[in-house]
């Protein structure tokens, strides 16, 4: 009997929700690491019992937790993230120079090859790798040392590396996204990187077509079609058919194309999901109605999915790492809100229900499909 495990990171702890394949009754465990901000919890594709959590606090810094038994027990791992060499500077909001300084881990991406290989995307933006399950970390410094690195600047949430995608057919090809520098690709496991932002147009930066400086909120990829990438930019939903070399807009008939989260259906690489947010100034759904928009055409033609979602007086946000899918035959879609709800659909978005309603603000949602 298959099962689903939802890993939720919140402002005040982590929660694990489990259900069998019917997904109609959920057991909620937590809070784990109560009182701490949990930016991300993620499981290993190579060993679903291996979980990692990013735990942090403005007072006491960064902690990395690891579980080898699906979240029942945890142990702290190495939390030392030291930039390679002399870090130098990046730009601050006002264009002044700021030294690179480690603040927190935003995203943990275990490799599909081994539960002991994992990547961490951090603020201030850099990519780290561990080859021993979190016992040691080293920076893949060629990214931060890219010739444009000194011009990167933070987005409103900080200068964070928040998205890490690994090509399932070629693990040395990876994509990362940084707010507000843009998207980057490596073909050699992180030894070299190139910006992949051609086609992005951002009116709010000095050169709207710049090589870097775009506020990319999230990237998504389907494993069966890894050359196709989808992007929720600050404004604009974008698509690339050539591994990020060129992007084109697919916002189409969306009522607003600002947002954070984006994901792809488990079984159809042309079916994608976004949660439109009113604007960069008003981080809540348009008209107070929480709507997931689905495109079955790979973009441009979108339909609102509303059944079971609040359609009035809803002013929550859905953050960039807070949407995920399961891989059951009838694909499940999940997202968490800053109001503490986790909504789930077990029918590809046709209908929704809250599987948790009163959690702390949800920062991230990941889903494991268990056999």
């Amino acid at each position: 009997m298959s099962a689903v495990r939802v890993l939720a990171g919140t402002r005040k702890g982590a929660f694990i929700l489990e259900a069998d394949g019917k997904r109609d009754r959920w057991k909620i465990e937590g809070p784990f690491f109560a009182g701490w901000e949990i930016y991300h919890v993620n499981g290993s594709p190579a060993d679903p019992q291996r979980l990692y959590a990013s735990q942090s606090s403005g007072w006491f810094g960064q902690i990395i937790q690891r579980s080898d038994d699906g979240g029942r027990t945890w142990r702290t791992m190495n939390n030392e993230f030291t930039y390679d060499g002399t870090p130098g500077t990046h730009q601050w909001f006002d264009g002044s120079e700021r030294p690179w300084e480690f603040k927190r881990v935003w995203h943990i991406e275990p490799s599909p090859l081994s539960p002991d290989i994992l990547y961490a995307g951090i603020e201030d933006a850099a990519l780290f790798r561990s080859d021993d399950g979190g016992e040691h970390w080293h920076e893949l410094a060629a990214l931060r040392n890219h010739s444009t690195g000194s011009t990167w600047h933070p987005g409103a949430g900080g200068m964070c590396l928040h998205t890490i995608l690994i090509d399932p057919n070629e693990s040395r090809r990876m994509y990362v996204a940084i707010s507000a520098a843009g998207a980057f690709r490596t073909e050699d496991g992180g030894a070299t990187w190139r910006p992949i932002n051609r086609g992005l147009h951002s009116e709010y930066i000095p050169d709207p077509n710049a090589e870097v400086g775009h506020c990319v909120h999230r990237l998504a990829m389907h494993p069966a079609k890894p050359e196709v990438l989808f992007m929720q930019k600050h404004w604009d939903v974008m698509r690339s058919d050539d591994r990020g070399d060129h992007w084109y807009e697919i916002s189409g008939n969306l009522p607003t194309d600002f947002g954070f989260a984006i994901d792809v259906h488990a079984h159809d690489p042309e079916t994608i999901y976004v949660v439109p947010i009113k604007s960069d100034r008003e981080h809540f759904p348009l008209d107070g109605a929480l709507r997931v928009y689905r495109s079955k055409t790979g973009g441009n033609e979108w339909e609102a999915m509303t059944k079971g979602l609040p359609q009035e007086n809803c002013y929550v946000n859905v953050l960039r790492d807070a949407m995920a899918i399961d891989r059951l035959d009838s694909c499940g879609i999940y997202f968490g809100t800053t109001g503490g709800q986790i909504y789930a659909s077990s029918d590809s978005g046709e209908s929704w229900k809250a599987i948790a309603r009163d959690l702390p603000p949800v920062l991230s949602v990941e889903v494991q499909t268990l056999e």
Partner: protein, 98 residues
């Protein structure tokens, strides 16, 4: 033996209850006490003094004998009453709620 009181978040993190005693190597200073804490309770590594620089985290404060030691040189000797065990070293999270 130095008596230390930790904030609740760090006690939970390190699975500590109540006051703890540590035996720092060399002269008892804030830095050597934190070193001893981290050696005995590895989950505390980097949570009080930052990795690398060993600077105090901005929102951590040190008190003893009703004296604010937060801005003292972390390599300077602790007060006599802490060294002789009659007073604890308090490591607290700065008040920043509201």
């Amino acid at each position: 033996m130095i008596r230390v009181l930790l904030p609740a978040s760090l006690k939970v993190l390190a699975n500590i209850s109540g006051e703890i005693d540590v035996e720092p190597e060399g002269g008892p200073t804030i830095a050597s006490v934190v070193d001893a804490l981290e050696a005995r309770f590895p989950p505390l590594r980097g949570t009080i003094l930052q990795h690398g620089s060993r600077r105090r985290r901005p929102m951590v404060r040190f008190y003893a004998c009703n004296i604010d030691l937060s801005h003292a040189d972390p390599e300077s000797a602790l007060p006599d009453a802490v060294i002789d065990g009659s007073e604890p070293l308090l490591i607290i999270g700065a008040i920043a709620g509201g």
